[in-house]
Amino acid sequence: MAASSNAQGYRVIGTRPVRHDGVDKVTGRAKYGADYSFPGMLFGKVLRSPYAHANIKSIKVDKAAALPGVKAVITASDLPALPDKMEQAGEMAINMNQLSANILARGKVLYDGHAVAAVAATSPHIAEEALRLIEVAYEVLPPVMSVEEAMKPGAPILLPGLRNKDEGPDKQTNVATHLQFKRGDLNEGFKGADYVVEREFKTAMVHQGYIEPHNAVGIYNPDGHATIYCSTQGSFVVRSLSAAVLGMPEGNIKVVPAEIGGGFGGKTTIYLEPLSVMLSKKTGHPVKLTMTRAEVLRATGPTSGSTVRCKMGCAKDGKLVAAQIWMAYEAGGFPGSPVGAGAMTIVAPYNIPHLLVDAYDVVVNRPKTAAYRAPGASNAAMASETVIDELADKCGIDPCDFRIMNGAKEGTPQTAGPPYRRIGFIETVEAIKSSPHYKSKLEGRNRGRGVASGFWFNVGLQSSAIVNIHTDGTASLVIGSVDIGGTRAAQAMIAAEVLGLDVNDVRPLVTDTDSIGHTDVTGGSRTAFATGWAVYEAAQDAVLQLKERAARLWEKKPEEIGFDNGQFTAQGDGVKPMTVKELAGRLARTGGPISGRATVNARGVGPAFATTLVDVEVDPDTGKVEILRATVAQDVGKAIHPSYVEGQMQGGTAQGIGWALNEEYFYDDKGILRNSALLDYRMPTCLDLPLIETCIVEVPTPGHPIGIRGVGEVSIVPPPAAVANAIAHAVGVRMTELPMSPPRLLKALLGKRGSTETQAAAAGR
């Protein structure tokens, strides 16, 4: 079935219809979380720590509670204490005790902006004023801001109970985990190397930067049931995590996913949701909380800053022989950086016989990190892809050819061991090589071109879908995956393809946690792959049932009914082929309504690769970098809606360029975030980017009925290294720290000039 479906040309898949939710979103009618309001609704605000690291001695709320208009004030003591162990929650393993302590600090604040108390009042302004009246006594502790400080012997301890296997059960530590991956014999490997490059890289903590701040409306009913309206990447994960944090039965919470204004991983966990329910429970009113931008930056999941030491060796002919990597990622105030993913992605595109990777998850007094688009992979690729570029230079081999020569293909072992099945890495490099951009000549002083590649696993997980056939022959499609960028359109296209309907005859509906089977979070680039699979199977289920109805009408056996190009057919006279529309009108008299259903726990997910090409111009007097041209090639398996696939590729590239040039968390020596506004957290504007060219590569994922690969993440992985490589070729300095901001690049440029001048002087003597 899958095979034949792949073989045949598609009618809907691969076209570019207008998205079904489009009109609502261009007219301002689409309802995002903050757009919800209810009669009697109160407004909540959260008091946040002004210190990076401190014990909470006491919290006095009486003055705040006495302010006219204030209806409730809550602190951590209003939430149940939870077990200090990892539990499965959707795609994530989560420590509920730490999750709760992140939502409202328990006895200790671990970063500037850590939530301490929450207020509900009749207006947001009154709630804000009430925060000023809450008296918190802090015992300020020295902040630990970098992995280096945190790993030093005798460093201040963030979490007294934290232990790791290496250091044993008696040793307090800031290192939550040490992971190691090993293959072959490192010494043997490096013996065979003609060229070795070893460098240390640092990347800054950066934020997902979604334009919509976090929000939640909680409505608690006296019968113990609650409804949460919020913008999230996963309504079911909000339900299970909120239930745990509130100590409520999961079934007593219904989560209604609002439209979501961007997530990029940052909305796969919870912050405000349990607070809205608890405040609603205390006041008997619906309570809405929305974060300010400063709260978003100070207290919601950025991704880790990191230190990565990368040593790689290759033979004269360019063959990679060995790699040794040491990496430590900032987890934030609680464990859980994406260092594991970093370790398993850093050399994933290459076949390297001898390998050793040591990876450390380290707590520091910064916000608890959350998932961010290919978590951990961009940090890692900044290191490996720069070193690869340098090795290619040393060998005098074109950087694309170098990657192709060493590129992973079917059967190549992955970092953690399992062999790749069919993948499209080399195809992405070839696509770049044959792109108009690569073939074009780059002229002008201080200009350079750089290439880099990236890998991301993608995930499968669970999804559910229902396809209802209506009497007019249209269909409604019900899914639990939120629409974060064309999801409705892509899923409707899959259903329309299978049902032989026009895409506009399928109405996609994203529904709440009570109206569809379990559906895991929109993350890991899984939605088109896994929810798409469920939608495909649900539509097939509907077709099967429709065949039975046709069989009844024609007095034949179901297996005698064919379905092709939207037409039901059978051999024999008196059989006039029927479309779904025609058959739909006969459902009542042939057995009643039809709903196709399917659920999946998708296995055999196909990983994604991308290769990015960037041209830059450097202002040698100021160190400012202009991006002149950018092209990204990505293996997407099969593009359902090419426009939205390109959109993911372009968006990830833009974010990666932001990391490369300007984005960073800037903390002062007290651990206070100095750039908690979009004025100084510098994401690229329209004027900072060129048009971004795309090459869609389609190497189908084996086993998937349509061959889809997730497309949401991998395009963010190559850009930082691609820009660094371009800068190196433009002005001859290798940048090893992100962001490559003007002050940093200028310093490197002046340093280089200084040294060359002294060399010249020496030569002159």
Partner: protein, 87 residues
């Protein structure tokens, strides 16, 4: 017998061996057999009677989904690796 590839940090349990053989029709049984051969293996991989949330299982190059009930073939190649999520 299935081949089990041992993560670097568990090789101390297998006397440094990075590949061992074990039998069992599913991951649960396989881990029981590993525990028999290399005491201590179970607690490294199991929590509350199932595979730890922080651990993923790959069988013949395919990421599994069924925890201890994940079927294992006669000549399967089995990997235990860190579970991870995406953005």
């Amino acid at each position: 017998m299935a081949t089990v590839v041992i993560p670097a940090q568990l090789r101390k349990l297998t006397g440094g061996k990075d590949r061992v053989t074990a039998s069992g029709r599913n991951i649960g049984r396989l881990i029981e057999d590993l525990e028999r051969q290399f005491p201590g293996f179970g607690e490294q991989l199991l929590q509350d009677g199932d595979v730890k949330p922080s651990i993923a299982v790959s069988i013949d190059g395919e990421m599994g989904t069924g925890g201890i009930l994940e079927p294992v073939g006669e000549n399967s190649e089995v990997f235990f690796l860190p579970a991870l999520g995406g953005g």
